[in-house]
């Protein structure tokens, strides 16, 4: 399981967010460059229609392939009150023939994107990961060198942490309190609940950048 919140940030304030995250984390910034394949099961294949994502991380010296399956969100009145989405997620590394394998299981490519940006990991109650990414579409099949940002003026910010049935309330609370640190720059909410950009972002970003310049 994982708990997740997300928000959007104007591209011009991404540097400021990076300064803030660096200050909060003090840890290592990791570069993100991931080719993501969104796959749909073939007709009549399997007991139910299914979707799965194959991710190829290109930020290291060798490509790393991972299969990712995101289940439905936790339901019920109590979960609706939570400030973060709780959902089941399974990830598994797979060897380089991952795409050929998924095609051999009857999957078809629905669409593909290139995600570029950076991430930070924080050790709070649980390890919290923040991903700041620009989502790019590929004008031609697998042509990542020709990737074009879908929304050049906006970046996607996602904050998530692993959870279990026993501790998800605690993890949601940890994510929620972490989100408050970022509040001057962006709103974070459950995926699908669009909250827009924040009015204070410009002032907060200027302050962060000028403080960073003084150091």
């Amino acid at each position: 399981m994982e708990c997740v919140v997300q928000g959007i940030l104007e591209t011009q304030y991404v540097d400021a967010l990076e300064v803030l995250l660096q200050g909060l984390c003090g840890g290592i910034r990791e570069t993100l460059k991931v080719h993501e394949f969104y796959l749909k099961s073939g007709s009549n294949m399997g007991a139910v229609n299914s979707e799965v994502t194959l991710c190829c991380s290109l930020s290291g010296p060798q490509p790393v392939w991972t299969v990712r399956h995101v289940g439905g969100p936790m339901r019920g009145a109590a979960s609706e009150q939570l400030p973060a989405l709780v959902r089941s997620v399974f990830e598994a590394d797979i060897s380089n023939s991952g795409l050929r394998f998924m095609y051999a299981l009857g999957y078809k490519l629905d669409y593909e994107i290139l995600r570029t940006g950076f991430s930070f990991c924080f050790q709070k109650v649980v390890p919290i990961t923040v991903k700041v990414s620009c989502i790019c579409r590929l004008p031609k099949l697998h042509a990542i060198d020709e990737a074009v940002p879908v929304t050049p003026t906006l970046h996607l910010v996602e904050v998530f942490a692993p959870a279990s049935a026993d501790n998800y309330a605690e993890v949601v609370a940890a994510i929620s309190s972490f989100a408050e640190f970022l509040a001057p720059l962006l709103h974070l909410s459950k995926p699908g609940a669009f909250t827009g950009v924040v009015a204070t972002a410009s002032t907060a970003a200027s302050s962060l950048i000028s403080r960073a310049a003084l150091k």
Binding site: N44, I94, F101, A104, G106
Partner: protein, 217 residues
């Protein structure tokens, strides 16, 4: 990773029995094989789930999916697609994902299990192949590996000589039969000379398929 050869016991006449495995283990111990512990390999055969029986499956979908887990590397799971000539290594979490996707249904599972021995630079695993749930004996197997070298071609002569030695020792125990090496064509699966777990997965799947087809015939 050391090169492994997987062999099965071919009796001169009749069927294999559990006593065969006992005799094989006695043979290994008679040449000072040091028993290290137990091992298990789980091999499963899956068939695609066809949602609507009146409609065909997608033509590109594999009609058979074979999965493998080794007790020595519990964090990994291996898949073999024979029709597509593909061996895939995944994290063991992939089994959870496959359960969620509900694409393939388990048809049968075979356990390969037994004891592991050390003989100098060689390691030997003696074991039985049984159907899960029914404990129905399908065969007796021997896995031999030469620890220092990872090249299939460089170890070929050495492993053959070692297997010949084992055959002599086994014959000395009045066992009527011999071990047969069933080597898959690795290059068909794009597997190189440097040996790895994917090679081992392919050997076990080849043997599983052999046991199942010999049962039918």
């Amino acid at each position: 990773m050391p090169v492994k050869w997987l062999l099965y016991w071919q009796p001169n006449a009749g069927q294999v029995s559990s006593q065969t495995l006992v005799d094989v283990m006695k043979s290994i111990e008679s040449i000072n094989g040091v028993r290290l512990g137990r091992w298990q390999v789980t091999a499963s055969n899956h068939r695609p789930i066809q949602r609507d029986q009146s409609m065909p499956l997608p033509p590109e979908a594999a009609r058979e999916l074979l999965g493998l887990t080794f007790s020595e590397v519990p964090s990994k799971h291996y898949f073999v697609l024979r029709g597509e000539h593909m061996v895939v290594e995944t994290h063991s979490n992939m089994q959870n994902i496959m359960e969620k996707l509900q694409l393939y249904r388990n048809r049968l599972t075979i356990f390969f299990e037994g004891y592991q021995y050390q003989l100098g630079d060689f390691q030997v695993k003696a074991g039985r192949a049984v159907l899960a749930h029914s404990e129905n004996l399908r065969g007796i197997i021997l896995e031999v590996e030469y620890v220092p070298v990872s090249s299939i071609e460089q170890t070929r002569v050495l492993l053959q000589e070692f297997v010949d030695l084992v055959q002599e020792v086994v014959a000395g125990q009045n066992m009527l039969g011999r071990f047969i090496h069933l080597e898959p064509n690795y290059s068909d699966y794009n597997l190189q000379d440097q040996y790895g777990w994917q090679h081992t997965a392919l050997q076990y799947i080849t043997l599983m398929v052999y046991f199942m087809s010999s049962q039918r015939s």
